[in-house]
Symmetry: C2
Subunit: 200 residues, 2 copies
Amino acid sequence: MARKTGSHGNITGPKVQAAALHLIARHGFAAVSMRQIAHEVGVQAGALYRYTPDKQTLLFDLMRGHMDALLTARAAVARDDSGAVAPLIRLDEFVRFHIRFHLERPDAVFVSYMELRNLTPENFAALEAQRSDYENQLEVILRSGVAAGEFGLADTKITTLAIIAMLTGLTTWYREDGRLPLMQIEQIYTGLVRGAVSVS
Amino acid sequence: MARKTGSHGNITGPKVQAAALHLIARHGFAAVSMRQIAHEVGVQAGALYRYTPDKQTLLFDLMRGHMDALLTARAAVARDDSGAVAPLIRLDEFVRFHIRFHLERPDAVFVSYMELRNLTPENFAALEAQRSDYENQLEVILRSGVAAGEFGLADTKITTLAIIAMLTGLTTWYREDGRLPLMQIEQIYTGLVRGAVSVS
DNA sequence: GTCTATATTGAGATAGAC
DNA sequence: GTCTATCTCAATATAGAC
């Protein structure tokens, strides 16, 4: 029952992250000032430094948080696929997972892709390792499909990158109140991906 | 024979554009200062304002120049397709054109995609119109293929965006000295696209 | 056509009061 | 835990000499 009034640390921290993510997604990391972020949170600029040592770390924490969430969520889905699930089913599953996860957090996706340039080399390398880990999970599916003779692919590595680019591109134009409901969009994309990997 | 020594206007102008494109692609528009651009050109910052009224216009000119070049180059290719060329052939042609054009100018592609946020609303609208024009050319091909019964597509609009995202994604990882030669990469991508639009 | 110098503004980050 | 105040530095853009 301790820790009552006057202690906002557990609420301001997340608000700083949310405000930073929101503003950086819209204007870019370099274009957003600590003062702007503070204003959106409702505090003065100096107060932000209780929650991050500097602006660069704030950016990295956002991006690392996004990649951690991606890999964790993916692991929860992929866990059920141990063993006898057919490659085509696992491919559909991956496509749906990728679309859902990315459409649910467009700001984080945008920032994680656009602001890689603004990371220090070490921070960049850490995120690249996570991204590579994720991509590799799709490539494993493609390879198993090729091995089973169910997929017809010229190159699993390039096809992996091509599919992920295609799926992630969805985030640049998708609107919740758009022409088609999400489930139908998912079906269209699974169809496109199935076609791309089919034996011709 | 007039206009000799002391007149560098016709050379410094392009150098400013080239330096700006190069630096903005690497660090982002907001992160690059006019001083940095001037330094790369080999002049002082004040001199840049002989070639652009302000930083915003410099960015817009780069992006508009890229889109103009894209539409002009595309028109030169598409001109030969009046009439009896089969949809599948025109689709292959579009894929190869898109890949070649984009891989030849990675900096301009990167800037034109990443810095849309930093444009004024009017400048943004002007570029969006051009982008829409380009995308529409692919959609026309897809529609003609559907009409001829040669393509099996759930939705030409979404498929257009999906294909373009897939192709443009190539620019993020392609290296001239990479594992595969460009011609082979083009073949892989035409194969992927053919599969995606094929009747299943 | 480019320079130097400068006006003006705002950035990231820190110190110390409360 | 947040505030005010401030240090230090660098940004865009302009003016006027050469």
